[in-house]
Structure formats: C-alpha cells, structure tokens
Symmetry: C2
Subunit: 129 residues, 2 copies
Amino acid sequence: MTSDPLRPLVDILKTLAHPVRLRILALLHAGELCVCEVAEVLGLAPSTVSEHLTGLRRTGLVREWKVGRWVHVALSDEASARPLLEALWPLMAGAEAELSRDRAQALALRCDPCTPSDCPPSRTLQEHP
Amino acid sequence: MTSDPLRPLVDILKTLAHPVRLRILALLHAGELCVCEVAEVLGLAPSTVSEHLTGLRRTGLVREWKVGRWVHVALSDEASARPLLEALWPLMAGAEAELSRDRAQALALRCDPCTPSDCPPSRTLQEHP
DNA sequence: ACGATGTTTCGGGAAATAGCGAAATGACAT
DNA sequence: ATGTCATTTCGCTATTTCCCGAAACATCGT
C-alpha cells in the first residue's frame, strides 16, 4: 500500500552491503564465470552462492544465462546498473589484496587441466580488467 | 583474526541501506537539525532516531555536537564522506516527492512560534540547497 | 535544590538475513 | 532409460536488525 519510493534504492544498497556479494561483483569485474566456479573460489556451498546471485539478479546488478548445464554469470550491462558499478570499484580499492587473490584463484581454476565434460565452456577472464 | 578488508565498506553500505537513514541524510542535505526535530519529521520515537544517528556517526557520514541541551546533527564534511554523499543525491532523485515533503515539514517546524525555552538555537535550513 | 526537557542506553519482542544440507529440477552423456 | 553433474528450492537454526517504552543521563531555568 504505502508505496515507499526509496525502496528500489534501499534494495540495491542492501544487496551491495554484504562482503560475499561484493567479492562476487569484483570477481565478475574480471570476466564472466559459472556458478560453481564462484562457489569454489569463495569456499561457500553452491546453494549459498545461488541465493546471493538471486539477490544480485533481482536488483539488476548481474545477468545470468544457461550454457549447457552451467549457468554463466556476468555483470549487468543495463544503463541503470553501469554507473553504480563503476562507482563501486574505487570504493573497494582498500580490499585489493583479497580481491586479487580471488581473481587469481578463478584464473587458476580456469586453467586447470580437466576432462571436456568437467570443464565449463570457455569464457573470458583476465587478471587485470 | 581474519581482518576482513571489505568490512569498512560493508559497514557504510549497511548504514545507507535503510529508508529512515536515507531520509535523515536527505534532510540534513538541506541544513543542520537537532535530534528532536528529526524525530518529529520522521514520526519516530526519539530513541529510535538516536540509534539511527549513532550508526550514521559511527560510519562517519554525519557529525553531531551539543548546543545547550540539544544535540545538533549535520552531514559530515570529512574528505572520506563527501564524495560518497555527493554520489548519493542523484540516486535518491526518484524519491524527490517524499524527501521534499520531509524538508518542508522541517522548515515548518523551524518557523513555528515557540517560547524561547522550547526553541532550539537557530540554525540554517533551506528548502533547496 | 528541584523540575522540566532533550538525549542516550537498556531490555525485549518481531522481523529480516545468512548459512547449510537435503531434496527437487534440468540438461547432458552413455 | 539411467546416471551424473550443475543449479535451485526448501526447511531449519543462528544471528542480526528494527522499533519501542522505561529508565538513566545531562543540561537548563527557576
């Protein structure tokens, strides 16, 4: 009933206000990943990561699409999300050490030898976007 | 032990991620107020407002100082907070109707005839900063 | 000293959030 | 068809957040 016009902004800020979700966004800043890789890098249960990603998608910060049996995730390219994300990177500068460790681990996963059926489809992932 | 480098940023985002605290910041964008005026405008118990303000002060977004028996509040002018606050106003544009109603009510309070002892010391407050 | 007024702290109850494992779902491979 | 693997949904518990009223503080006026 009470149409609370601040609600959309509050939803976005609440979504941002969690260390795991910030780490996910920083990871995706280096390129797209699939859900299982994110879970592996963060050391969390897949169900936990899935729930975080649901929130990030609900607020339009992230987009997902299916590739075979994997779900790929990337930062949103919508006009409403871009400026907000761009404003976010400098704020995370203080955590660069941890975030670059995350990126390195994602990169390592990506390069691991694995059988074709174990390996999610190729995607871009760079150390320093 | 684990010194979580994202903690400071998460704290700030959590502080921002609440409609009441956003309304307080928007109110203070028009000028300083005392705690009881903020409580009156928002229609909340003074203790509730006090607790919100404690959070805002903890994260360096506002500053407070005593003036007689009143506590005045204003936006922080620290270098760390300024850019963040400046980035915030455009994000709140969608709630301009509600926020300007708040400002108008604060302005009205300010102009109410009141006995000297009931009246907080003078301060600046403008409709459109 | 006393009472009045503004503010903060404290205790508690309701609601939201975070994490997990187990079970359900969907897509591929054999 | 069946099994496997990636993902999501569900049920649950633990923790945190939010709001209030009562009580404690603090400051002013008389």
